[in-house]
């Protein structure tokens, strides 16, 4: 905040200004999340070269695990994670549950991509934003006292997104064998429901003051544990090891996909924190558009298909984006935010978390007298260890034998980094990642 504003403006004006700034920050984080989450799904296209979906998902989760421990250690230090857990230890269970949901959903998406393709599966599982709105409204007072125009913006946007998803489902029905199309649609919609439910623990954590960087650290145990159980029970330990050995030349690319996903997810966590799940999740689901761009421009999906399929996919995607736009323009007002605070008080009472801590963290600040987080030797060791693992697998990697278009891939990557720099700086300047 500008020093003058804190000395000259009355507290109420400062509160309103801070609140608006955090809302904008949530919206910006949502768009950055969309770009990064969309890019992260591209490596799953490697399923086309014959690796088991379970193995792909497991390797991605290992990359996610490494990123979820090294990035928070690099940004704030693990001392801040320990401090958060001491204040709200119950959130560890919520984070583990969310991680399990993520692992199952991610595995379903890989089956969906295999059966109906990335550009069609993506919008279907992005129906999770509708559930985000539902859970936000039912459980966390979101959209309460929001006013008719804003509520219509969010609900109308959700309806338009439904129409878009339906159009894309119709397009998918003419693709591939009928049995696989059905499986693919079920897998994509199932992933959407799982991810929709995952936002309940997200919102729970942020209403109780947990830092997104702390939450994702424990989340990673849930997802790696669940993914390991799924892989071993599905393939058996011996065959799984053999598949991992045979996939060693592409392990780096899949782990990189997991790493990119974590960056998107961290932005999504900040979007859920500052804009709420009813708005933050649909915004981050603009990853559908990015997935479409990667699928069509880089991987040549839909190449050679008839023009009506193109029209259905593009029309459906545009409808979904229109819905996202309507939701983005319906940010929460002061009255609605009062209801959010009531939900936060309910949570802090239920779980015995200090109210002043919850209030400070909801406002993106540190508590008065709170020790500032710092990095220690352990943090640097974590960063070095994670980097070393990536370097080792990068040395084994070779470029998959697939038809890729490198020029659009370079352009999309440049846009990703632009989002990272702009949104990262905005988060740092406004909240210091609190």
């Amino acid at each position: 905040m500008h020093p003058d504003s804190s000395t000259q403006s009355p507290p109420a004006v400062q509160d309103v200004s801070r609140s608006k700034k955090l809302q904008l920050l949530g919206i910006l984080s949502g768009f950055a999340a969309g770009a990064w989450l969309g890019a992260a799904e591209a490596p799953t296209k490697l399923v086309a070269i014959g690796i088991s979906p379970m193995v792909i998902s497991l390797i991605m989760v290992v990359g996610v695990f490494l990123a979820r421990w090294s990035l928070p250690a690099l940004i704030l230090g693990t001392s801040s994670v320990r401090a958060d857990v001491r204040r709200a230890p119950h959130l560890v269970i919520w984070a583990l549950l969310a991680g399990c949901l993520w692992a199952v959903a991610n595995t379903l998406t890989i089956f969906a991509i295999r059966d109906i393709g990335l550009s069609i599966a993506f919008p279907l599982w992005n129906s999770n934003s509708l559930l985000g709105i539902l859970w936000g409204f039912l459980f966390f007072n979101e959209l309460r006292r929001a006013g008719g125009r804003r509520r219509a913006g969010v609900l109308g946007g959700a309806l338009v997104m439904c129409l878009g998803a339906t159009l894309l489902a119709i397009a998918s029905s003419g693709h591939g064998p009928a049995a696989h199309s059905l499986h693919g649609v079920c897998a994509a919609l199932g992933a959407g429901i799982l991810w929709g439910a995952m936002y309940i623990p997200y919102r729970k954590a942020y209403l109780t003051g947990m830092n997104p960087l702390s939450f994702v650290t424990f989340f990673s145990f849930g997802e790696l544990g669940m993914m390991t159980i799924l892989s071993v029970s599905s393939l058996g330990l011996g065959p799984l090891w053999q598949e991992l050995l045979s996939a060693r030349s592409v392990i780096f690319w899949l782990m990189l996909g997991g790493f990119v996903w974590v960056i998107g997810d961290i932005f999504q966590q900040y979007a859920a924190k500052y804009a709420g799940i009813s708005r933050g999740i649909p915004l981050s689901n603009s990853n559908q558009l990015w997935g479409l761009l990667w699928g069509i421009l880089v991987f040549g999906e839909l190449h050679g298909r008839n023009s009506s399929i193109y029209l259905e996919v593009i029309g459906g995607s545009l409808l979904m984006m229109l819905g996202v736009g309507a939701i983005a323009l319906s940010s929460a007002t002061g009255q609605e935010q009062t209801r959010w605070k009531e939900a936060a008080i309910r949570e802090s009472n239920r779980y015995g978390v200090a109210a002043d801590f919850v209030a400070a963290r909801m406002d993106g600040r540190q508590l008065a007298g709170e020790v500032k987080p710092s990095r220690r030797v352990l943090d640097w060791l974590l960063v070095v260890a994670a980097t070393s693992v990536f370097v080792i697998f990068a040395a084994m990697a070779r470029v998959p034998q697939m038809s890729l278009h490198w020029a659009p891939a370079a352009l999309l990557t440049a846009v990703l980094f632009l989002f990272l720099i702009v949104s990262g700086l905005a988060l740092w300047r406004t909240t210091r990642f609190n």
Partner: protein
Amino acid sequence: MQPNTTRLASILTDIHFWVPVAVLLGGLLLLRFIR
């Protein structure tokens, strides 16, 4: 701060907890069906 038993009871009696648990079980069944 609450003792561990009270905290666990708070989680288990929270409806918000059981919705994601039920969805997770449904997701595992769906995965089994698709495989």
